[in-house]
Symmetry: C2
Subunit: 265 residues, 2 copies
DNA sequence: GCAGTAGTGCGTAAGGCATACGCAGAAAAC
DNA sequence: GTTTTCTGCGTATGCCTTACGCACTACTGC
């Protein structure tokens, strides 16, 4: 697993640098080999089948054997397209998100509205594929086509701001981290179904563990209604995923402050 | 896995509400049972052994069998203390972080400095136990002792701000998400060792995939030096983990803006 | 046409994993 | 002293990923 070096079996583990070969294939960077028999499968097909299984039955159901069965091939056949299960998961996440939806007319001219839209689009996609949320940051910086397309979109939204290119990228990462965190906790809370009950149980638990003088400030917060104010809304279904979440607005304000400082006139 | 109900085997899966029994045990909320033979192990001991294995050889090495062997007991003995592997992992993460270090003198009076310190303390702990980073948000809202102790500390820091209790909690979550995201990507980049080389390879890759007119704004960013400006520093070792990261300052600015709006005088 | 050969799918099997279940024995309760 | 309850553990099941080698295919260079 740690050794590089070209093995006879499977694809080369590494393409150029640290990018897995299967990811390069997803970009179309791998030239079609010309010898040998025709390939019976496509990487896209494999990924699509795996995503379908994960959508229907969760990520843990999408084992190599199961995906292969879905495609009518043997388990090991998949390893001609993907060096490791992790690579498949990376591609599955990318495939599940798909290309970012185009920005609505005019929204690209106001960076704040544009980022709100961007945030909501990502959040919606995440809600549609909950299994993909927990695995997004595993592999480090974004390398897959749709993820980078989304990043490109954010950079477009920020094009007229006085931020440096580094700051633009960092801003996009900041916002996307924010979506991810918010969706993660929302999904853990049951996706709005038993939200109120779970929240009630949670705050009850917090009262219980803070009752002997431990965690006095947490207790104050619970008693102050931090977990049952109307502010604590159940995260909504994909179609109307709350785009004015607390965290997002704070982040946007923070970026606003930087922009104002950079452009005082 | 989905059915609740009390089974004869293992601990009850659920204590009160959705809190696992082992987590309640970690809080000392479980009364000692009085019948039966004395227990040969302690939950703390199991968690400590598991953390030691994970620290030395990574999370995947810390299997139930391995941890049991480390303690000189059989694999199944552990299931008298923990209902499931996931519960153990939850407790491992909490155990790895340990109690939050006390705030230095005076820093508790300035919320901004206090949150910076808080951020740095969490980041330092994460760097010391990289395996724990990927699993923090898995189980939903924080329920374990040390995690909630850290939350309590953040609420202490924010005690004199005009924020509502809900907003204080949300702020703490916001900052902790930020640490987590930043540390995750830093660790993926090799923990500052090959940072420069990997960053170079990454930006080279980005140039390659954006060369046919795809991702024009990303290409602009790369060419604009978004990935090799001096701003892009190698994340430092635990002792001096960069506490003035871009994301953190944006978040703090955003909170500042809210505070200013709330307290205009 | 006809080798040579690189690349194909796949069968087998190894080694790991979490964990269901039942049992023998220990210690407290009555 | 009997009963009850909880202990640790042996056994076994059914997963999982993936190493390896084999038989075959279809293209290349002659």
């Amino acid at each position: 697993m740690d050794t590089a070096g070209e093995s006879e079996h499977g694809e080369d583990k590494r393409g150029t640098g640290a990018i897995p070969a299967s990811v390069e294939a997803a970009w179309g960077l791998r030239p079609r080999p010309h010898k040998g028999p025709k390939r019976g499968l496509t990487l896209e097909g494999i990924v699509a089948a795996a995503v379908a299984v994960a959508d229907a039955e969760g990520l843990e159901a999408a084992s190599m054997g199961r995906v292969a069965k879905e495609l009518g091939v043997s388990t090991m056949a998949l390893y001609r397209y993907v060096a490791t299960k992790d690579e498949l998961v990376t591609l599955m996440v990318d495939g599940a998100f798909g290309p970012p939806p185009p920005l609505p007319e005019g929204v690209g001219d106001d960076w704040r509205a544009g980022l709100r839209h961007w945030y909501q689009a990502i959040g919606t996609a995440m809600f549609a594929h909950p299994w993909a949320v927990a695995h997004i940051p595993s592999g480090g910086p974004p390398v897959t086509p749709n993820q980078l397309a989304a990043l490109d979109q954010a950079l477009y939204v920020l094009r007229d701001t006085p931020l440096t290119e580094f700051e633009k990228v960092a801003t996009a990462l900041l916002v996307s981290n924010q979506v991810r965190a918010e969706v993660t906790i929302a999904l853990a809370m049951g996706g709005s179904a038993d939200f109120e009950r779970l929240m009630g149980e949670y705050s009850h638990f917090l009262l219980r563990v803070s009752d002997t003088g431990r965690l006095p400030h947490l207790r104050t917060a619970v008693e102050g209604g931090a977990f049952d104010e109307p502010d604590v809304q159940a995260p909504q279904k994909p179609s109307d995923y709350d785009e004015f979440a607390f965290g997002l607005e704070r982040v946007l304000d923070g970026i606003q402050a930087l922009i104002d400082a950079r452009r005082p006139d």
